[in-house]
Symmetry: C2
């Protein structure tokens, strides 16, 4: 039985608590939140313990693993603290605010010999997985072009407050990283990026159109927005064109679990077009299942590997720099 404590009692902690409750072989070991009211409410809702401090959590031998669900600016402290306490770590994406933080976190987890996984949940969404499989199996031929989009308005929830503050969050890049990570999974390492967009009054970016050149020669455009008007549906879109085929995923709806429109299509030379039925699978459940499997086998994950998460952050920060400078930026390679 893997006993998992949650750090942070916000929106995404609730999602992971539900996964832990549903999965065999694990249970909730408690929750910590710097806001005692929020922590108490959460602990009561999920019938779990409330840790009065992180030190209590680190010291508890009945905690095997943590799910870091705190705001981005706190990831480093929480992951490094958990590693030093010998806990396995699932951490929300983006891995960190800076590459130095990410490197420090990865080193701490390696040194402690604990499992470390970053919750790049798009790698567990069945439609994105299917397209990656088609690509990897050669069904699409040589991949030549991709377009990915992710649009949502700002929710009224206060949980996004930190996300828009420079030095604490990444604005829309917090969502855009999903597509940048996925595109590197699909097309290999990016070598250069350009971007254009506009900012929130706080200074973080509200919208980006990113032009990504890959080491393999292909080019992708990714667009991300937190600045679409009221009523604009949450939108995910991916189109990949290869020499032998093309795949399109189009999604609109309030959230991934409740599409108002969802299609996954495969087009291949010499075959009739194929609309692929995808049974809805909860990708958060699947990523938590993968984390548990990693703990059992003592390995780091295939999907959500911290090195990939670090590469996604490097590309995301390159986009940010491209937005700020108007120049073409190369992502900082890992040291």
């Amino acid at each position: 039985m893997v006993r998992i404590a949650l750090i942070g009692a916000g929106r995404i902690a609730r999602v992971h608590a539900q996964s832990v409750a549903q999965l065999p072989g694990c249970c909730l070991a408690g929750v910590y939140d710097p806001d005692p009211q929020q922590g108490t409410r959460f602990a009561r809702e999920f019938s779990t313990a409330l840790f009065p401090s992180l030190e209590d959590l680190w010291a508890d031998p009945d905690v095997d693993a943590v799910a870091v669900c705190s705001p981005l600016f706190a990831h480093r402290d929480h992951v490094v603290g958990a590693a030093r306490a010998g806990k396995h770590i699932f951490c929300e994406k983006p891995i960190a605010l800076t590459l130095d933080q990410a490197d420090e976190m990865i080193a701490a987890a390696r040194e402690a010999g604990v499992v470390f996984m970053v919750g790049h949940v798009v790698r567990f969404m069945v439609e994105y997985v299917r397209i990656q499989e088609w690509a990897a199996q050669g069904v699409l031929g040589d991949l030549r072009s991709a377009y990915a989009a992710r649009f949502s308005g700002l929710s009224a929830g206060s949980w996004r407050g930190w996300m828009l503050e420079p030095g604490r969050g990444l604005g829309v890049l917090d969502a855009h990283i999903h597509d940048l990570d996925y595109l590197q999974w699909l097309l290999g390492p990016a070598r250069r990026v350009r971007a254009a967009g506009w900012r929130f009054p706080t200074g973080t970016w509200a919208h980006t159109t990113s032009w990504v050149e890959f080491a393999g020669g292909s080019v992708a455009v990714a667009e991300g927005s937190f600045a679409v008007p009221q009523g604009f549906p949450f939108t995910m879109y991916l189109r990949v064109i290869g020499s032998e085929g093309a795949a399109v995923f189009a999604f609109e709806g309030p959230d991934y679990a409740t599409p108002s429109r969802k299609t996954l299509s495969l087009y291949r030379q010499g075959h009739p077009p194929q609309t692929v039925d995808t049974t809805p699978i909860n990708p958060y459940l699947e990523e938590m299942r993968a984390f548990l499997q990693c703990i059992r086998t003592g390995t780091w994950p295939d999907r959500g590997h911290p090195d990939d998460a670090r590469a996604a952050l490097a590309l995301t920060l390159a986009v940010q720099q491209a937005l700020e400078t108007g120049e073409a930026i190369e992502p900082r390679p890992s040291s």
Copy 2:
């Protein structure tokens, strides 16, 4: 009664012959095609005269106007010839293969005092018109970002043969120019473009992803492909995001007249989302109606003005050069 002769008896000539047949105040004055068999078949089908040569057509005082429906490489000769013969001119898009040709054609028509219009039919498609109106009326606020796409596989028809031959056609840029023209209508003059794509074995471009920077500061991405696999639906897509609203047009279907999916949506701050019903209007009929109106009033058109068509060609050739060089290219301004 405006008597209109067709130059070229191919696919698009058929479309314009049908418009002429439907519109009041005009009639077909005959057809010319260098292939006598094709010309004869066409003349019989539309119960009109067959001109044995262009000289016969130019010399016929019963021809008031021509619709130039010949392949791109022949536009210059046909437009300049018609102008010198004093005929009003409707010419298919793109206006010409080169800017020098376009300038020569415009000068010839001006000198002859005839009406000259270029068939940029997207400016007559009601959904594109609606979005342009919203933008012009300020409904969307300051325009910040646009994405336009146009995808079709190569039809089996031999009519596209010349289109793929360097020096005779522009490959996919023959379709991509629709979006480049529209984006300049919407966002003003482009100042710089980058592009990536791949070629047909013939050497013309099969696919382009174009990054267009506008003098006003906004950036648009436009994608065009003749290289999508078999079965991929003919696709038109336009999304415009402004400070106060966003508009999305999504179209799939065998052709514009027979959508399998079509939505036009308007999202505005402080308003519920609006799905706009667009009665299907034949845009080819509307552009021919506008041409007739120009002849009646002796003016050049608002939509399909040769100067705009020339600017669209300048941007298209800049995209071509960007594809070839990998560099950022500024469209050549009009002299």
